[in-house]
């Protein structure tokens, strides 16, 4: 036992220039971010079956967690004063090009002026099938997203609440149906307090008047007098009413979930990958590859995404767009194994899968998958060996109006 203490001291003496294993950290962070809590090979333990609110939400990216948290929080009374802020004019979305991408989906190349989207340059926005969005709808949805970005920024900069980080306020835009001296009534939300001290602030600086609010305006009503989902503590604070620039429907989870960013794949800039829309997208790990046993940190961790063209016991072929086919060599028919066995055990590993019919998560030809692999930084081969393969993920999403249920992207 004494020796173990000595080991612990040795570990504690690690100088900062001796970095921990990047691949391990990346794997953990990737699991956390993409929510892949399942792997037939490495997840031998059952996880906590009772799913808490946070556990349910942890599968979603930060933006969605916050959006849902805010949506779920009960607004309390006892507010002190109100501010009315309009986000109109703070940002401007312009379309450079509307086209069809290599996967047959509508795609918008846009410029987001005054919008703090965390997406890197070269990002385009794909309008996913099922949403029936026109290019004009896509632009409006993106403008709404920018509005929510700006609202979030303002709240974080101005609201006095440590535990209320409302980055996005999806499903919280409502039309004003009535205003009195002290209340505002919102469609589908009912009556809310509206103190006489209400102000209008335009572009963060310009003071406006409470009288700028009128029936028919689309607003987002926010109060930081709420219970934090993390601390469970109630905080006292203020009410802010944000005037929105678009119709209420463009601020909904439903519409926003159909506008998805795409950009260069990790360490693979020639390839195009779906980025998280921050709302309902996630991935499901199908299988680990052979690379985890031979991780060489001098190699790049790369990703590629595309549609399954074929699979058998020796390889998986994936169409990554623009006529390029990647071949991933395998040591067995891992997709068939997933379809025949793994998919039926998903529910026992995590409750996120328990309400989804396993049949709906089976991989078919044409489905979107993502593949992680290791490669020499100077090489960009289209043929990847089993020992390079890190893992294969199925691109999935939560159904916007029923976040407990998954479907393939």
């Amino acid at each position: 036992m004494k020796d173990l203490k000595f080991d612990a001291q040795l570990i504690a003496a690690r100088p900062k220039n001796h970095k921990a294993k990047r691949a391990f950290t990346d794997a953990v962070m990737s699991s956390i971010k993409s929510s892949e809590i399942f792997s037939s090979q490495i997840r031998r333990m059952n996880v906590n079956k009772k799913e808490t609110l946070f556990m349910k939400l942890r599968h979603l990216p930060k933006i969605a967690i916050i959006a849902i948290a805010v949506g779920a929080l009960a607004l309390l009374t006892g507010t002190t004063y109100a501010v009315v802020k309009t986000v109109q004019g703070l940002s401007n979305v312009t379309v450079n090009e509307s086209s069809t991408n290599e996967f047959g989906r509508k795609q918008l190349d846009v410029t987001l002026n005054g919008c703090e989207f965390p997406y890197e340059s070269g990002t385009t926005y794909e309008l996913k099938e099922g949403g029936e969005l026109s290019a004009e709808d896509g632009v409006k949805a993106l403008q709404a997203r920018c509005d929510m970005e700006n609202i979030s920024e303002w709240i974080q900069a101005n609201m006095n609440s440590e535990h209320a980080p409302p980055a996005y306020l999806m499903d919280q835009a409502h039309a004003i149906t009535a205003i009195t001296d002290s209340t505002v009534t919102l469609q589908d939300k009912g009556e809310k307090p509206l103190p006489q001290t209400a102000k209008v602030i335009v572009k963060n600086n310009e003071a406006g008047q409470r009288s700028d609010l009128k029936v028919g305006d689309i607003v987002i009503y926010y109060s930081d007098t709420m219970r934090s989902p993390w601390s469970r503590q109630e905080t006292n604070g203020e009410v802010v009413i944000f005037k929105a620039s678009q119709q209420a429907k463009y601020y909904t989870l439903e519409i926003q979930s159909y506008v998805n960013p795409r950009g260069p794949c990790m360490s693979n800039p020639e390839r195009n990958c779906l980025k998280s829309n921050g709302i309902n997208q996630t991935t499901l790990m199908v299988a680990m590859g052979g690379a985890r046993h031979t991780i060489d940190e001098s190699e790049d961790t790369r990703e590629v995404q595309g549609r399954v063209v074929s699979y058998d016991a020796a390889q998986i072929k994936v169409d990554v767009g623009k006529g390029v086919i990647y071949t991933f060599f395998t040591t067995g028919n891992i997709i068939e194994r997933y379809n025949q066995t793994t998919v039926y055990g998903l529910a026992s590993f995590d409750t996120i899968y328990s309400k989804t019919d396993p049949e709906a998560l089976k991989i078919r030809i044409g489905d979107d998958i993502g593949v992680g692999y290791l490669e020499d930084p100077s090489s960009f081969s289209h043929e990847i060996s089993w020992n390079q393969l890190l893992g294969i993920n199925l691109m999935v999403e939560r159904i916007p109006n029923n976040l407990d249920v998954l479907r393939k992207y």
Binding site: M1, K2, D3, L4, K5, F6, D7, A8, Q9, L10, I11, A12, A13, R14, P15, H18, K19, A20, K21, F24, T25, A27, V28, M29, S31, I32, K33, I37, I42, R43, R44, M45, N46, V47, N48, F54, M55, R58, P61, K62, I65, I66, E162, H163, P165, A167, P229, W230, R292, H293
Partner: protein, 172 residues
């Protein structure tokens, strides 16, 4: 960033802040799990699972009651016990608990840290220093080190034992 600030950032929605915690504790945690499970790969898998579980349950973690590292090691230890039981291996929980107490990340004062670093740097042959750094500071497995030195894992184990003996003498 200190640990508490890191945890606060994660809880406020900054997922990326969790990376610091993974970097900080992964090497020790992997070694701890490896020692319990007698298998490096299982140790890495369980350590990974422990970090994911810690992230998922972070809102329940109370900094008033325990250090994050204590809590994290407890999660990992429980996962190891589950795995050992699942694999029908004998589990001596008391031994494991004693081991947990021993391996928990040490609060070593700066002066001792410097002494340890100096002693490591002075190991002879220098290969021993490289191996100690690789295993305890860089998270390399016996297999990784064996591959680097084109030798067997048993030999790596012998080298590490000899290096630790030298270190203890230097530090005593």
């Amino acid at each position: 960033m200190d640990e508490q600030a890191c945890i606060r950032k994660v809880l406020s929605g900054d997922v990326e802040a969790f990376r610091d915690l993974v970097d900080r504790y992964q090497t020790g945690l992997i070694i701890h799990c490896e020692n319990l499970l007698k298998d490096r790969q299982d140790g890495e898998d369980v350590a990974q699972e422990a970090f994911i579980k810690a992230y998922a349950h972070l809102p329940k973690f109370s900094q008033d009651k325990a250090r994050f590292s204590t809590w994290l090691y407890q999660i990992a230890t429980n996962l190891c016990i589950d795995l050992l039981r699942k694999n029908k291996r004998k589990v001596h929980v008391k031994d494991i608990e004693a081991r947990l107490e021993a391996v928990e990340p040490a609060h070593t004062i700066e002066e001792d840290i410097e002494r340890i670093r100096k002693a490591v740097a002075e190991l002879e042959p220098p290969k021993y220093a490289a191996i100690i750094k690789a295993y305890f500071w860089e998270g390399k497995s016996y297999q990784d080190i064996a591959a680097t030195y084109h030798t067997s894992t048993n030999t790596v184990g012998t080298w590490i034992s000899r290096a630790k003996l030298q270190l203890k003498e230097k530090l005593s």
